[in-house]
């Protein structure tokens, strides 16, 4: 039984995101064969779409089980479609790779092993160690309420009893996404929140750091694992205050705020670095990259209502820097378009609260 539950979670957290991501990545020339990029792109797309479906569903009072059926069926179909698209696009260049190019030196191999062991250490530690945080009483209990009572944001998490729709939190329904995983897999929402989600979040975050490192160190391949090792050191010793994104990644990874600061913000840095490279070279940016930026913006909203403001600001600062670097205002149009979901969700928050 437990194996079946783990198997279902593997499908939901590995196979489906990878299938969806493959479909998106097929349209990104540089990353169409990169398995890590596919996985990250799949999650961003999945989360973005969940945000689009879930917020209206919650406001309209749809049952949680119905939302789960719609979402999971939709994602499974998208994964099939994505895989199909990827196969069609890859006919001429088959095969997946994580790192491209010739044989690795012995030192490079050792450094990759150290980097890998560092990530493994964090995954094991986050599985065997618990991080106490009072906010779990709200977020994890909301996941639990959705699974047990088939209701979303209409029951009081701390005590019980019905309430009017909690508009502030229902605009950032990350706990409901976790509840969907729990519902489909049959695993307790608290186990999914505390023992499963951290493994996914930490892996994805290092995937993003790895890709950023590869971009920054293009032509210096042997230093890439070293970048990842230093990134791990900064994260592991990043608890210099309780507010840091590194602290949130390790100790509060099941909460939407961690999704925002430790995953979405770096993911947007990765994507805008890809955009910057193209624009500064006078090339056209693939639409798939802009699509992923928009999905990341929606994901920020899924994590936290404040995420809409944070990533809006991030893109705004990027827009300013891009304008002063390229001196072309036309480059700002897609940046502004990508900010629309954040603006809409912020307006909804202001109007509904």
């Amino acid at each position: 039984m437990l194996l079946a539950k783990i198997g279902i979670l593997c499908v939901l957290l590995l196979v489906i995101p990878f299938g969806i991501g493959a479909g998106v990545s097929a349209f990104v020339e540089k990353y169409k064969k990169n398995i890590v990029f596919c996985w990250i792109a799949g999650f961003l797309t999945e989360w973005g779409i969940f945000q689009i479906i879930a917020v209206p569903a919650i406001i309209k009072g749809m049952s949680f089980s119905r939302l789960t059926v719609i979402y999971v069926t939709g994602m499974a179909l998208l994964a099939l479609l994505g895989s199909g698209l990827w196969i069609m696009k890859q006919k001429k260049a088959p095969g997946l790779s994580v790192v491209s190019g010739g044989a690795m030196s012995r030192t490079e191999k050792i450094l990759w092993v150290i980097a890998g062991l560092g990530i493994l250490f964090q995954l094991v530690m986050n599985f065997v160690m618990a991080f106490e945080d009072g906010d779990d009483a709200f977020y994890v209990t909301n996941s639990n309420l959705a699974v047990t009572y088939d209701s979303m944001y209409r029951l009081l998490p701390y005590t019980f009893g019905t309430t009017v729709l909690d508009y502030r939190h229902c605009l950032a329904p990350f706990p409901i996404w976790i509840a969907c995983l729990a519902k489909v897999s049959g695993m307790h929402p608290t186990i999914v929140s505390h023992s499963v989600i951290p493994l996914v979040m930490i892996s994805l975050t290092y995937g993003i750091y790895g890709l950023i490192g590869c971009r920054l160190l293009e032509g210096k391949r042997k230093y890439r694992p070293l970048f990842l090792i230093f990134a791990e050191l900064v994260v592991l010793w990043g608890n210099y205050s309780v507010y840091t994104a590194e602290t949130f990644l390790i100790s509060r990874s099941r909460q939407g705020k961690a999704l925002l600061c430790s995953l979405v913000v770096p993911a947007i840095f990765l994507l805008i670095h890809m955009i910057g490279e193209k624009l500064l070279a006078g090339k056209k940016v693939e639409k798939a990259i802009w699509f992923l930026v928009m999905m990341a913006v929606l994901t920020a909203g899924l994590g936290s209502t404040m995420g809409n403001f944070i990533v809006g600001l991030q893109l705004g600062v990027f827009g300013i820097c891009l304008f002063f670097t390229t001196r072309k205002w036309k480059n700002l149009i897609p940046v502004v378009i990508c900010m629309i979901p954040a603006v809409v969700l912020m307006l909804m928050y202001v109007l509904l609260r």
Binding site: P157, L216, L226, W237, T244, A245, C261, L313, F318
Partner: protein, 250 residues
């Protein structure tokens, strides 16, 4: 401006990691030649910091998200990437054994500038996959019904965990008692929190709050017997005693 500085200092905390990040930005300003790298990982953090400390911006942001959350602005600083990249960039300029010495030294600087996350006061070894105190799991399993729900009063230290395990357990008061400074907490809370339990009063208040169960520290002094007031002892789980209201069942 002063508020922004105070919050920035709060974010920087007890380590030197943010200082290291600022030093790394200065290094990149002089050493980084790639236009795109400069735009994303040098200009963007600098503009973000300028906006953060700009009084007009902070006033505007305060009105939208409130002063208490202004520090979240600082999540936009790519601290991990900038420090890691700068360290690697320094190492890559060296040759042979100097690279190893520089690598170890820079690693030590990072370690000494921060605080190890797994030594946090909030971290402890999880006794179960729920990552909840084992006594909460055991107590909940004891009182949780298969169908429907029960109502139980718990001591303050268990309030955040109970409904993470089971939402079939209602509580007369919950984590809001820890989160907010409640001027008037319920009488049952105070009665159950007292060092010596006034059993008659606790039983009366529990019934008023429609509690099926009461959970309290087993070391508390009782000035009577719960059985005399229609309660029975269910079990002692870990450090806690569970009693049940059996009045209607009699």
């Amino acid at each position: 401006m002063l508020d922004s500085i105070t919050r920035f200092a709060g974010y920087c905390g007890k380590g030197m990691m943010v200082a290291l990040f600022l030093v790394a930005l200065i290094y990149l300003f002089f050493q980084e030649k790639n236009k795109n790298h400069r735009m994303i990982f040098l200009y963007m953090p600098v503009v973000t910091l300028l906006l953060y400390f700009c009084p007009l911006v902070s006033k505007l942001v305060y009105s939208f998200i409130g002063e208490d959350l202004y520090w979240r602005f600082l999540w936009l600083l790519p601290i991990v990437v900038v420090i890691a990249y700068t360290a690697v960039k320094i190492i890559s300029t060296l040759q042979g054994k100097k690279q190893i010495v520089a690598g170890i030294s820079l690693g030590l600087i990072v370690i000494l500038s921060g605080s190890f996350i797994y030594r946090s006061e909030h971290a402890f070894y999880a006794g179960n996959p729920y990552h909840l105190p084992q006594c909460v799991v055991d107590i909940c399993e004891e009182i949780e019904p298969e169908e429907g729900k029960v109502r139980a009063a718990f001591p303050i230290e268990l309030l955040p965990y109970v409904r993470q395990y089971s939402v079939r357990i209602e509580m007369p008061y919950g984590r809001e008692y820890i989160l907010l400074d409640w001027a008037r907490r319920s009488e049952l809370f105070y009665a159950l929190d007292a060092e010596t339990l006034d059993v008659e009063r606790v039983a009366e208040l529990a019934r008023q709050d429609e509690c099926d169960y009461l959970v309290f520290w087993k070391g508390k002094i009782l000035n009577g017997d719960f059985m005399d007031y229609g309660f029975e002892t269910v079990d002692i789980v870990g450090d806690y005693m569970i009693v049940r209201d059996v009045m209607e069942k009699k």
